[in-house]
Homo-oligomer: 396 residues x 2
């Protein structure tokens, strides 16, 4: 009858590690998420080895729990986001999204080519510099109660644009590997599908809910509205993957639709316990994928340092330039908000490895870079958001 | 980036199936859980085949989600249960637990021996008649708001006794298979360990919390008490498996300890969304393990019918006799409450199959019996609990 023993121990380890890490981080005036990722690093192969890479591989129970955790996180962020507010920052968000993709892609490609890779491989490596992982920034913004700030709206809008462009770019670089050349019509169809999906679901769903959400109420069951929107969340998370987008984009849309209902406030409260249980899995498991042994080798660690600096600087520059119409500090916040690559970078690196494009070393460095950007961003972002506004932060 | 696509679709199917099934059941005045199990049967191999047996095998993501679901369910049931109330019904619960094990074990053993199995195999088969799965009854009681009734306390207390005895019995029959004979000292040690674990955690934990639970409060984070008790829940669920008990026993204890805190009411509310998200996985997946094709063969379906009737009658008789000091109707409710074998029967059948003791046919029949008892119980229990008390229900 103790068939479930091992997995229960693992769940306990991950969960308690998250609580301890988060507690320590908060006492150090850092966002809790930093502590959760660091705790993952400690229980992972870097230090204790209680969580092995095999246990968190794609499709394992822990991987699925982590996925559910980040899906729920973006759902809850969507719940705090009104479509109207996103529309207001539409132009800035678009610019941030586009420049936040182009600058890292360009700088990443140049670095790779400068390190002796041919152009087709260099562009694949460059693609791994591109995609922002919205989960980490979203969590920091939520933790600091900053989701209603203009910078946050810009970051969230830009994250959607970023995901669309990153998907297209990945499509291009993958087809370049085969030497096939790029099928422009196919690309346009993919672009159209993704934009159409987001537009139809986002605009249409929000309109339906604003028009009438009384049907979600069932007096005898206070959880029925929650169950319906959770079904919507899982459903849209799945459908968005069909359009080549990340699952969290669909979850974010589902949350945004639900934010238009009269139950929005109740739903927000009900989502909190779900986040408390499930998001630690995402962040601890993200942290557990960092293998510090990589850094033992001097040459590799130098390369990692350079790659990470390029990844941070390029996103920061792209985001900053895109958001220049805001105050200068706001533009910096937006830029930093786009820095984390997190699990998206890991996924692209895995694709590159299995396609035989990446060497093991490049793979390891890209993975480490993705996770390092995820580690570095939260404290900086928290510091920027908490710092009082001074007279030098005048609008540009 | 759509690596998580397949599992998201599966999660969506399971979740939406649960909602539809539950809705239909409630319109038919049945407990929602019946609809969830039936929905599992529909999406499982019996009808649609969208959920395959491989997808729900031990250790798969769906299996782990189901396990988390039932652990949280028993945690929440514990949260509504005070140790004092359990103590009050201690004697009855003990009798129900003991007789509810002995009668099914006896009748199951006789049936197996009558069907040509030697005694050592017959006793193993008999063990599969024994263990009650508390999850299904607990859900029905919770759905009907009946957890505060005396019958419910007796059932919960008896479920703990049942699990201890079933574990011991399984230990005995497994060792009999090897022809080794029974190591009495080892058995006593196991018994002592299990009882000691429950006593120390239950009594000690409840006392600590009653004495002081203010330390669980953290004004800046309303979820901190929840996070701490969830960690306790996962931790005790794991530790109880180390003592040979089911994970849900530890989860129940954790809930009961938490019910002594000043945060009990808040915790109950916060647990609701967790149940809404995760318990459907347990019930739908339980239902998806039923394969109706088994019933196509006349001989097998007759045997299944007999086995299921023995399983129901023997538990009912044992529970009823144990609870005779209550009113006659209450004793019947208690008896029926102990009927579901659910996933525990499935686990024992799997043990028997892998130990080479069970034939494929016996395995399939025991699994089907376990799941049928889980299907049959909720409507009967709901009917008994809802029926108004009449003058014939006088105390005996």
């Amino acid at each position: 009858m103790h068939h479930a023993s091992d997995i229960l121990l693992t769940l306990f380890i991950v969960f308690i590690a998250a609580q301890i890490g988060s507690e320590i981080a908060q006492r150090l005036k850092l966002p809790g998420v930093v502590g959760e990722i660091a705790a993952g690093c400690v229980v992972g192969p870097s230090v204790l080895g209680w969580i092995t890479p095999e246990q968190v591989a794609t499709g394992t129970p822990l991987d699925v729990l982590a996925e559910i955790g980040v899906v729920l996180l973006l759902f809850s962020v969507g719940l705090e986001t009104r479509l109207e507010d996103l529309k207001k920052v539409g132009k800035v968000a678009f610019l941030v999204g586009v420049l936040g993709v182009l600058v890292p892609f360009g700088m990443g490609g140049l670095w790779a080519h400068g390190n002796g890779f041919d152009w087709s491989r260099s562009l694949f490596i460059a693609a791994a510099f591109v995609a922002t992982s919205a989960g980490i920034t979203a969590r920091v913004l939520q933790e600091l109660g900053a989701l209603q700030r203009t910078e946050s709206k810009v970051i969230l809008g830009a994250a959607v644009i970023d995901d669309i462009l990153a998907m297209l770019l990945l499509g291009v670089v993958v087809s370049l590997q085969g030497g096939e050349g790029v099928d422009l019509i196919h690309l346009l169809a993919v672009l159209g599908g993704a934009i159409g999906f987001i537009a139809v679901i986002g605009l249409g769903g929000a309109r339906v809910m604003r028009w009438n959400s009384r049907w979600l109420d069932k007096p005898q069951n206070p959880n029925s509205a929650l169950a319906i929107v959770l079904a919507l969340c899982l459903g849209l998370a799945y459908v968005s993957t069909l359009f080549g987008l990340a699952a969290i984009i669909g979850a974010f849309l589902a949350g945004m639709i639900a934010s238009e209902t009269r139950q929005q406030h109740t739903l927000e409260k009900q989502t909190q316990p779900l986040l408390a249980l499930l998001t630690p899995f995402f962040f601890v498991i993200t942290g557990s994928k960092i293998d510090l042994h990589l850094l033992a080798d001097f040459e590799a660690s130098m390369m990692l340092l350079v790659v990470t600096l390029i990844a941070i600087a390029s996103k920061l520059i792209g985001g900053y330039l895109g958001a220049l119409s805001l105050r200068s500090r706001s533009a910096i916040i937006v830029g930093f908000g786009m820095v984390p690559r997190g699990e998206v970078g890991v996924v692209i690196a895995s694709l590159g490895l299995s396609a035989g494009v990446f060497t093991n070393q490049i793979y390891a460095i890209i993975v480490a870079m993705s996770l390092l950007t995820a580690m570095v961003t939260p404290p900086v972002l928290a510091w920027l958001l908490r710092r009082p506004v001074t007279s030098t932060d005048t609008p540009s």
